[in-house]
Symmetry: D2
Subunit: 378 residues, 4 copies
């Protein structure tokens, strides 16, 4: 079993994370981390913060001579901009000039968290609720991604839809083709294998930016070459779709998740909704993957396909809030932030799902059957 904890506020001194349970012997290098962290900042019209933070990951423990030790892996990402926020994020002293944040942002954790923690300064909440925490979860995913890679698992993550404009991606795409397409020069700003949609998306995002608006959309992550039987039908919390749904919905901004063609399936008759088996050349095979690689709470050997729907970022024009100091309704003043964060969402989903799948996969080979465990012990 893999487990992790993260800590750190958005404008605090650092993010820190610990990942426990990675097997001994997984090869790792510093570049594995920097490559991933760079990808997370790619994306059209990202916040100006990308010019400040390089998100360099310091590996504090769990790695020796280029391989994991089997011990917990401790990671640190310093916030380069911390000193500029020292008045609002001072650990010990309250500056006399400090102004509490008294206008809860709709769509953010402010209001609910203020009630929970009985505070009138929403910065107490917003700092930890920020999606910046996912920078550390991305970093923590690196050993899990490398483990899956060593086992032959391959994955791809891309943006399917921004606002109401869909990209055009062939059904039954192969992961290697999509991965190659994502390497194209203009693909990274929108993380799409479909370059034909880029101009419309650019227009859409520019137009939203002009209006001070933000955008949401839908991303897809696909994992290939997974062995069947990861997860279990035997107890409800062991189902891999249950575990993955929890992981997907743990990313700030995600409001819905779909496995395979789940929404379409719900509208079809049974015969069209399921993936028949055929015998070809003495092997069991399938011609479709409506199920997205999961049946009965387990991987079924077909590619695992997961889609996440993200609402627009909340820091947008056109909303009202209430200043709880004055109890007056006021307009939301958006911070200079991203217009949309779909590419980062896709990368982050691939990261957190990699951790969860690596975890389930390790557990899965812990001796499901007496025969297997006898082999293992001897």
């Amino acid at each position: 079993m893999l487990r992790f904890l993260t800590a750190g506020e958005s404008h605090g001194q650092a993010l820190v994370g610990i990942l426990d349970g990675i097997p001994k012997g997984v090869p790792l290098c510093q570049k594995d981390f920097s490559d991933l962290m760079k990808k997370r900042w790619d994306g059209y019209r990202r916040s100006p913060r990308k010019n400040i933070e390089n998100d360099s990951v310091e590996i504090l423990s769990g790695v020796r001579f280029g391989k994991t030790l089997g011990s917990p892996i401790g990671l640190l990402i310093k916030n380069l901009d911390y000193q500029n926020h020292i008045d609002s994020m001072n650990k010990w002293e309250l500056s006399p000039d400090y102004k509490p944040l008294t206008t809860p942002l709709p769509g953010h954790a402010d209001y609910a968290g203020g009630k929970k923690f009985n505070t009138d300064d929403f910065r107490d909440i917003r700092e930890r609720a920020s999606a910046r925490e996912t920078a550390m979860r991305n970093a923590l995913s690196v050993p899990a991604r490398k483990l899956l890679f060593e086992l032959g698992v391959r994955s791809a993550a891309f943006v399917r839809k921004i606002g109401s404009i869909s990209s055009n991606i062939s059904e039954n795409y192969s992961i290697s083709e999509v991965s190659a397409a994502l390497e194209q020069e203009d693909a990274s700003a929108f993380l799409t294998p479909d370059l034909s949609v880029v101009p419309s998306w650019k227009n859409l995002v520019d137009s939203a930016a002009e209006k001070g608006q933000t955008l949401g959309g839908m991303v897809e992550v696909c994992f290939g070459n997974l062995p069947p039987g990861i997860g279990s039908h035997t107890q409800s919390d062991l189902r891999i779709d249950s575990r993955l749904a929890a992981i997907v919905l743990s990313i700030p901004g995600v409001k819905a998740v779909e496995f395979g063609e789940g929404i379409l399936q719900s509208q079809l008759e049974g015969a069209s909704a399921h993936d028949s088996f055929y015998c070809e050349d003495g092997e069991i095979s399938r011609k479709s993957n409506m199920a997205g690689g999961i049946e009965g709470g387990m991987t079924n050997g077909m590619p695992l396909v997961i889609r996440a729907f993200m609402k627009p970022l909340p820091s947008t024009c056109g909303l009202s809030t209430v200043d709880i100091k004055t109890m007056k309704t006021v307009a939301v003043k958006p911070e200079r932030t991203d217009v949309m964060a779909l590419p980062a969402l896709a990368i982050t989903l691939e990261s957190v799902i990699s951790i969860e799948i690596a975890s389930a996969l390790i557990e899965n080979f812990s001796g499901n059957t007496l025969e297997k465990i006898k082999d293992l012990v001897s």
Copy 2:
């Protein structure tokens, strides 16, 4: 924290479940259980099994003088039809006449489970993977439902869509109105407050039944009067949307989940996608609930709205499979089962979500702040 385990095969001797952590003093009676279990069997064109099983729940422990004891609650549902399945489900002896099940059903756990547990008899898998397990989770939800009721929480569960035909339910409906509508005479067969859609749904289901087809659809569950701040933004696995997504996807057949208007939100610009705050009569209020009652991984005081998309039941005509004994492609022969199970899904979702919300709500009042915990200890 509430936790539970269930056990039992679909055609085995009994289902059994244990729920741990219910506070002392929650009033309970036998009728609470029978009323809920009856609702689960309502629904148009259910399987003939409904004529055999009455799903009478035996309370074995944790209740004394009509109230919960604070001890774990043990429940038993005997399978009335067990003796008719004694050859295939014998605990100790293998009958010489027994025929293993060698054709994996597409859309079910058979194939993946067979790989996991290294078996050629898919009955080893199918018996536990069956949605019959949810009968016990419904039963276990009763003390959680009663606890929520005592705290003033109210909920409603209904079918929104069968196949591609939607019901018509007013935006910003009230839970009490929907609940009243669901009590109408013709509402229970389809568990909808919109009687106008019933004739079309009846046609749709009849037509599917004639063709040996099954149907899926979409259901909605809504909880009102929940205090804000249930769940937490502070660590990813504490987010209430993450926890609820796991619960929803743990129900067999569910392939997607949406919180509030999550899918619609993903297509809108920020200004239309979020729920602004207003000050009215000195109170903070809102005019919309796009977020479905969750922001920042916490309840926000608005009604909690959750939607689940279910694929058609897999026991349907028109699919092919492979007999792994002969390695020949053969047609799936459907069992006489339900045509659709949407009403049961809606009830079950309300049940499992009740358990999870009761759990999160109890944890929530464990002293989030030093002030509160000082009060509690003194």
Copy 3:
């Protein structure tokens, strides 16, 4: 990972338990359960309840054709004496004749539980706090014991000391010798391989019984042929001694636990306290086992030795309590119960430790190293 829950009050309708995670294919028969449950009632001067309860275990799920299915195992033990307690343990109605129990028993959960659950009727607490719950944990251990047996693990459990009188057991005993000695005719009443101590123990127990007194003592459990490396040094809660200490202290009445010669070790200088390695015939070996088979939070390949110290049963003469109805100090009136329960404790410890070791052993073979997990996946 194995996990379990139990439910049931001491004089309630039934005990029920669920064990989740046992691999598929472990052979089981009804006699495995009845043999163990009978052993638990053996023992000199046990309570008269042993004449009423046969503790017959009903297997409700998880077993098919004489082998485990990989699904959760549900077990039921009906209380044969329930009808005689229907007034005090009625699930639904409070009888007008019922007298609450208002005198908390020193040494039992009554007082602390009454405070926790805010009750003046200590039967609300005592019923679940009773050691009768361990009957179910014994039953749940059967599949774990069988799994360990199939893997070649052997164990023995015996009483080392009653009150202040020790038995005489040779250092470095072998598990098979002790097991054989425990099969002797007069061994079962006191579960000791040392028949020479039996007359003194009989006198001690008879004398205590005459005075209305109870006795405690010390028991030992030993597991041989365990592979090294079960548990882990990498995170504090993964240490096998930490896990086992929790299990041992979860048995009512146990107040101390010792691994190997831990208490003696604490009084020696380093050179005498540790188990040196030697090379003999090209193999690493050891001549002592002061560590009791655990180093660094892992099994080290030597026999695992665990000792538990039990206080005397609390239902004894010579204690005073306070009737919280009258707030008067009164003498404790002991129930007709066991004089000592050391043999049952030894069996129970062997049971609960079997579950925990089987759990840790299964997890242990989940791919600690990349090499191993590559083998497993391929």
Copy 4:
């Protein structure tokens, strides 16, 4: 619920830890950390490492304006000596001069861990298995200790025995008296309130040091003013003694734990072994505390008394091992390390128990009864 993870090797770059679940509003300052970390290095004849490491704790997150935020607390302790170990602990490169450690130390994790992780270089194991990890658990305890302090809980930790020489501490001591005595000038080297034992202990330790020997012993931790009812009798893993035993045995070197007078209790008759209740001035009271403050798996309102038995440190003269490269038996060459670490053990136990008690106490006030939870919600 509080949870934590730690990471870091003994001679690696840093120790890192995350504590999740501390309520909002607990006052904290840097000195709280430095005072505790200093205490841990006090103690007679500690290893020379105490001259290198100052164990300065960097608070990375979870604290704002001198109070906890309710967010996870991330802590960092840099290893000041890391550069001197860069050859053996290099994260990325294997130096050509590096010599693997091929002689497993008896009494340490080397051998068992080498088997588990399939390595011939025992430094892979020893680095994480070192008790240095407990420096971070001490640091993580600070917010928990402050929380308990704010709630009025008081504790004391001291050494009871070194080798076979006991200190003389009055029965029914008060925590405040012991705490005062521990502040005396000569008390800190041995962390004892009994200065009369200091000369004998000094002789014992000096004499062991001359012989290259190490020593173990026994320590005691006591917590006063805890509310009754922390923990629960309702499920075995909720018992506070079970939870605390796990915590105590998670400290490297501890081989036994005793609650109250548990070992003595096991040798007495019932009447002398339990703590009778009396009514005095209309209040229930007790004259003894044999139970050490725990009955039925819950705190009972009396002081909580826990004792841990530690084996001598393993780096001692007089042991043999096997060089697995040559398969020759060789003498253990001890490192220059502590002669005994009892004072550090006492402080560490107080730390880890503070975390666990704070966790159980927070959970405890999560609404055990419907009445209470109704109050909390309203």
